[in-house]
Every structure is written in structure tokens, then in C-alpha cells.
């Protein structure tokens, strides 16, 4: 009985510490466990070709998720990413007649522009991020469908090569994703922009009062998310060897939010975990791959994903309610 006064405090602290650890590093643990499981039980898993397949498939999700992580870091959300992908797909094949470089440039410009519109609605007009980007989610898919009404195959050798070739065994698609990871990591760790972004997400009012260019940073963040989604859309199109605005990027916003949340970035803003987001996307990819390779029904995949999201949300809860 003499310890009764001190005892309740200790376990509570340990528990919240454990949860904080789970939020920060749980995703690494989960990826490690899945890799171990596959190494033991999945035939042909430990082959270079397999890792290449997984990385190629996850690359567009990683790229979109990093843009999403930046937006979520400002306490926002970007629901338009999937539709921006489809718009980028449509625009890239529409301008292919001028050559690959102008076509891809136009696709990226379209992505940046979508982001600027969304960001302006949020920063200047004061529309809530979820509403502003929901409008874009609906509208941009419609626009993409008007531009390219049905799946359109292309034959441009340079664009085909972007989707299927590799340098020194590393597919271009994976290379682009790696560059994006490095750039976003650099932005967040080494630049004033990164620090401002986090400051705005942590407390917008305080950031405004201390004279930070809040609106400019917000618009830039949404524009970045738009450009990254467009990059992903172009890569996915190059891989498919056809632009398919009707179904490309459907539900991508949900996959991206999942990767960000599972990676330990809180939805309340003020924190962006770049490596965690990459691991979050990898975890979801590995999960899908594991269930597919073991020929289990896709409904299992959905339920397993839900379980992982719940664990992530539970781990994040403790920290945000403090």
C-alpha cells in the first residue's frame, strides 16, 4: 500500500511512451516483420526481380504521399491528388505531338496550377482544405475525362522507355521516386520553407503574428502536392503505356493519407515524417503483395489495411490528446 501513490503514475508514463514509440517507429517494425514473413513463406520473394516489382509499383504512391505529408503538416489535406494524376495523364498524351519534354512539362504545369488553385482557395479565400480539394477532386476528374474521354494508348518511344527501362538495374520510375524523397527530405530538414511549414501547421495564428508569409507558404505547399501528384500520374501513365483518365488514381487520396498516417505524421499538423511516410507506403504495398502472392481474396487486404490504420490512429491519439 505504501507504493500505491507512486505506482499509477509510472505505468501511465510508460504506456504513453510506448505509444509514442509505436507512432514513430511502429511502421519500421511492421515492414521488418512483413519482410521476414515473406522471406520465410513466400516463394521467389528474395529475388532482385521481386524487389524491383514492389518498388516500381509503390513509386507513384510514395511520390503522392510525400506531397500529402507536406499538406497534412500544415494541418490541411489534399483530396485532389488522384484527380490531378488523371489530369496529368490526359494532358501528357494530349501534348505528346510536340514531343515528350513539352508534354511532360505541360502535365507538371497542370498539376502545379491545380495546386495553386486549391492552395489559393485555402490561403486567400479561407475555404477549408477538405472542401477546397474535394471540389478539385470532382472537377479535375471531370476535366480529364473531357480532355481524353477513353483510354488512349501512345507509342512515343521515350515515354514508353520512362515507364519500362532502367539504368544499372534501377527502373527510371524508382529513380524518380528516390529523387523526390531526397528533395522533400532536404526541404523539410534543411530549409526555411520546411521550418515555416511546420510552424504554420503547429499554430497558424502564432505563425501569422510572428510575421511568417503564411499564405505564400500554404499556396506553395499545395502547388508542390499538385506537382508531385502530376509526376506520379505521368509515371503511372508511362508504365501503363496508355492514358486512362477514367480510372487512373482512383482512391489515391485515401492510399496517400493512409501512408502518411501509418508513417507517424499526425493529422493535426506541425510535424512531417518523410522517411516514415515512405515506410507507410511500403508497408501497404508489401501487405497487398503478400496477400496477392498467397492468393487470398482482396477483401482480406481491405480488412488488414483497416486494422493497420486503426493501430496507427490509436498510437497517434495519445500524443494529440495531451
Amino acid at each position: 500500500m505504501s507504493q500505491a501513490t507512486a505506482a499509477p503514475a509510472r505505468p501511465a508514463l510508460d504506456r504513453s511512451r510506448a505509444l509514442a514509440w509505436l507512432q514513430d517507429y511502429g511502421v519500421y517494425l511492421a515492414v521488418a516483420l512483413l519482410l521476414l514473413f515473406n522471406a520465410l513463406f513466400t516463394p521467389h520473394f528474395l529475388e532482385v526481380g521481386n524487389f524491383r516489382t514492389q518498388l516500381v509499383q509503390v513509386a507513384p504512391i510514395v511520390i503522392v504521399s510525400l506531397g500529402m505529408a507536406l499538406v497534412i503538416g500544415t494541418e490541411g489535406v489534399d483530396l485532389s491528388v488522384g484527380s490531378v494524376m488523371s489530369l496529368a495523364a490526359a494532358v501528357s498524351v494530349l501534348y505528346l505531338g510536340y514531343g515528350v519534354a513539352p508534354a511532360l512539362l505541360m502535365a507538371l504545369v497542370a498539376g502545379a496550377f491545380s495546386g495553386v488553385v486549391g492552395g489559393s482557395l485555402v490561403a486567400f479565400v479561407g475555404v477549408q482544405p477538405i472542401v477546397a480539394t474535394l471540389a478539385l477532386l470532382v472537377g479535375l476528374r471531370g476535366l480529364a475525362n473531357v480532355l481524353v474521354p477513353q483510354l488512349k494508348e501512345f507509342r512515343d518511344p521515350a515515354l514508353l522507355s520512362l515507364g519500362s527501362d532502367a539504368v544499372l538495374g534501377v527502373p527510371y520510375v524508382v529513380l524518380v521516386a528516390a529523387v523526390v524523397v531526397a528533395v522533400v527530405g532536404f526541404l523539410m530538414r534543411r530549409t526555411t520553407f520546411g521550418r515555416r511549414l511546420v510552424a504554420i501547421g503547429g499554430n497558424r495564428r502564432a505563425a501569422e503574428l510572428s510575421g511568417l508569409p503564411v499564405r505564400r507558404v500554404l499556396v506553395t505547399v499545395y502547388a508542390l502536392s499538385g506537382v508531385l501528384a502530376a509526376v506520379a500520374g505521368v509515371l503511372a501513365t508511362a508504365r501503363l503505356q496508355a492514358a486512362d483518365p477514367t480510372s487512373l488514381g482512383l482512391f489515391m487520396e485515401l492510399s496517400a493519407i493512409t501512408a502518411v498516417v501509418v508513417g507517424g505524421t499526425p493529422l493535426t499538423g506541425g510535424r512531417v515524417r518523410v522517411a516514415g511516410t515512405v515506410m507507410g507506403a511500403l508497408l501497404m504495398q508489401l501487405l497487398t503483395s503478400t496477400l496477392t502472392k498467397h492468393d487470398l481474396p482482396s477483401s482480406w487486404n481491405q480488412m488488414a489495411q483497416a486494422a493497420i490504420i486503426l493501430v496507427a490512429v490509436y498510437a497517434a491519439r495519445e500524443r494529440t490528446t495531451r
Binding site: 513466400t42 516463394p43 521467389h44 520473394f45 529475388e47 526481380g49 521481386n50 516489382t53 516500381v56 509499383q57 494532358v91 498524351v93 494530349l94 501534348y95 505528346l96 505531338g97 510536340y98 505541360m106 497542370a110 496550377f113 488553385v117 489559393s120 482557395l121 486567400f124 479565400v125 479561407g126 476535366l143 475525362n145 480532355l147 474521354p149 477513353q150 483510354l151 488512349k152 494508348e153 501512345f154 507509342r155 512515343d156 519500362s164 503511372a236 508504365r239 501503363l240 503505356q241 496508355a242 486512362d244 477514367t246 480510372s247 487512373l248 503483395s289 496477392t292 502472392k293 492468393d295 482482396s298 477483401s299
Partner: protein, 361 residues
């Protein structure tokens, strides 16, 4: 310093800037040329009736209880289920509209439910409200039509359902169903597969979207036939590709990596088969290494046969226009209409692919 503009002004500014930019984007597009050589060739590839449940009861104007009217001057409604973004839906809507134009139906009203069932229900209710005297419906689902059927029956509006069925009583809730037999398509795909593999080997199935009767029936027919005719063939893998090219590609990439001994793929539509082809190319396979059999008969897939990547394609013919309107006309002329009209679908393989290319949709 000027006063900051009001919110409304900012919103207008953002919207105005976006519309200007949109115009600029669409204004000077220039895509690769020579892409869509040869649109639908008018008379080619028409549907033919295979069986009409001849033994069963037929439905006549008297029995249905309606009155004769002139199809050409009446309002006729067509309700499409999915966006015309895939070859099947494009050809289906195109065929209905072209045939209506050809026989002189001047008041055809077409709607599209964009894959939302609730929208399709209200679409059809709208068509009835606009005074439609006859309806052609490509249903998204088979169930859930009761409220619409009741409204149509009260006004004695004959309904022809195409490509998918509506659950209800023929000649009372609706006039007739015109479409393919999906189980049969599965069986014929299995026959082609047995030929391709000489009766033994390992097959993977790329399933269609889950919870869809097309998926269920194409799977059922395929498996039944394989079991009955070629016990040497094993289905070792079945995963959904959701009828989409990208998903078909991704699943096939996982498949060839983890099951390198796979001999063949049965894709439940052409889009997934084409995705599989891209995946096989990416994995360094050669044309014909893995036999592919699929269902639909789109031009891109028939071209795939010519190129050697696809072994055979079972057709699912979407050109419902002529049969749908002939059926309505016969009904109005007092003839008996069978409760279902099953169309005969063609089959494409290396023997006929090249000369059939123009007839594919």
C-alpha cells in the same frame, strides 16, 4: 496601402484565373497522330440471335396490356449504366443512337448513370416523367428496380433490358432481356484454353470486379468446363483485376514473380488481358510464352491476337441497337416476344483475327 479585397472578390479572382488557364490548356493540344484509325464500321459486327427460349412463353401486346403507338414519333428512353469510357459502353450507346437515327426515331432521350445505381433509378424515373413510351435499359445492377418497374407497369411502358438482366417477371415487370450468356462465354474461354494448353497446365484467373454477376458467371462457366473437360488443367491463382488495365498489369506483375511456372492467364475482360500483356513484356517474356484467353472482343485485344500475345478472345457483342428496336417494333406489331433473347457471340483466334479486326469494336 489598398484595403484587402473582400472574400467574394478573391473567390471570383481565383475562379476567373482558373478558367482562363483551362482554356489555354485545351486550346493548343496536339496529340500523337494516327491513333484511332477506323471508328466503328457501320454495318460490320452486327449481333445475331442465338436462341430465344423458344419453348418458353412469349409476350404479346395484348398480354402485356399496352396500346400500339408509333415508335418513330414517340419518346423513347435509353438509360446507360456506366460512363462511355470503355470500348464496350461506347459501342453500346453508339449502336442504340445510330440505329434510332437510322429507323427515324426522332425523340430518343439518352441518360448515363455514371456507375451510380441511385442515379440510374432517378434517370429512368425522369425518362418516364418526360413521357417515354418505351424504355431500353442497360442496368448497372439486376436488383433494386421495383419502384421503377411499378411506375413503368402502371403506365404500360415496355422495357427492354440489354446486356444485364433485371430481376422481375417478364411480360409484367419488363418485356424482355437481350444479351449474352456469360456462363457460356466462360465455357467457350475454357475450350480455347484447353486447346491452347493441350489439356494440361497451370492457369491464373484475372477476375472482374467483385460482387458483379458478369464476374461470377464468367468464372463459373470457365471452371465448370475445365473441370469437366480437362482435369489436367489446374487453376492455381485467382485475383481480381477489377476489369481495369492498370490493376490487371499490377496483379500479373506479382503473379509472374511469385508463380514463374504459370502457363496461361484467363482474363475476364480485354482490358485486364492487355494489362497482363504489358506486365509480361516488362518481365521479359516473349509473345506466346504465357497463353492469354479473354472475353470482350475489343479491337485492341484482337490486335493482340494478330501480334501473338493473346491466344483467343471470346466476344461479348455490345451492338444492341438493331435487335432492341426490332424487338420493340415486332412487339408493337402484335407479334409474340420471347422472355429472353440470347445473342450469338463470335470468337477470335489466330485463324480469323486479322480479317476480323475491322468488325471488332
Amino acid at each position: 496601402m489598398v484595403k484587402p479585397p473582400r472574400r467574394g472578390a478573391r473567390l471570383r479572382a481565383v475562379l476567373a484565373a482558373s478558367s482562363v488557364a483551362l482554356l489555354a490548356v485545351s486550346g493548343c493540344a496536339k496529340s500523337e497522330d494516327g491513333g484511332d484509325a477506323g471508328k466503328d464500321q457501320g454495318g460490320q459486327g452486327q449481333q445475331a440471335v442465338q436462341s430465344t427460349a423458344a419453348a418458353g412463353p412469349t409476350c404479346s401486346l395484348d398480354k402485356f396490356g399496352g396500346e400500339k403507338f408509333d415508335l418513330k414519333s414517340a419518346v423513347v428512353g435509353f438509360s446507360q449504366s456506366e460512363k462511355e469510357a470503355n470500348p464496350f459502353r461506347i459501342a453500346e450507346t453508339g449502336s442504340i443512337k445510330a440505329e434510332a437515327g437510322k429507323i427515324g426515331i426522332s425523340k430518343l432521350r439518352a441518360t448515363n448513370a455514371q456507375s451510380q445505381f441511385s442515379k440510374q433509378i432517378s434517370d429512368v424515373q425522369q425518362l418516364i416523367a418526360q413521357g417515354a413510351k418505351a424504355l431500353v435499359i442497360a442496368p448497372l445492377n439486376s436488383d433494386g428496380w421495383e419502384p421503377v418497374l411499378r411506375q413503368a407497369a402502371a403506365k404500360k411502358i415496355p422495357i427492354v433490358t440489354v446486356d444485364r438482366k433485371i430481376n422481375g417477371t417478364p411480360c409484367q415487370d419488363y418485356l424482355t432481356f437481350i444479351g449474352s450468356d456469360f456462363v457460356e462465354q466462360g465455357k467457350r474461354a475454357a475450350d480455347q484454353m484447353i486447346k491452347a494448353l493441350d489439356g494440361k497446365g497451370k492457369v491464373a484467373i484475372l477476375l472482374g470486379a467483385a460482387g458483379n454477376n458478369v464476374t461470377t458467371e464468367r468464372t463459373q462457366g470457365f471452371k465448370q468446363q475445365i473441370q469437366a473437360k480437362a482435369p489436367g488443367i489446374q487453376v492455381t491463382f485467382e485475383q481480381t483485376g477489377e476489369f481495369a488495365r492498370e490493376k490487371g498489369q499490377q496483379v500479373t506483375e506479382q503473379l509472374v514473380q511469385s508463380h514463374p511456372d504459370i502457363d496461361a492467364i484467363y482474363a475476364e475482360n480485354d482490358e485486364m488481358a492487355l494489362g497482363a500483356v504489358t506486365a509480361l513484356k516488362g518481365a521479359g517474356k516473349k509473345a506466346g510464352d504465357v497463353k492469354i484467353v479473354s472475353v470482350d472482343g475489343t479491337r485492341a485485344a484482337v490486335q493482340g491476337i494478330v501480334d501473338g500475345w493473346i491466344h483467343a478472345v471470346i466476344e461479348s457483342n455490345p451492338r444492341f441497337g438493331p435487335l432492341a428496336f426490332q424487338t420493340l417494333q415486332k412487339f408493337l406489331d402484335g407479334e409474340g416476344i420471347p422472355e429472353k433473347v440470347i445473342i450469338s457471340d463470335r470468337e477470335y483466334d489466330s485463324a480469323n483475327a486479322k480479317e476480323s479486326l475491322a468488325g471488332a469494336y
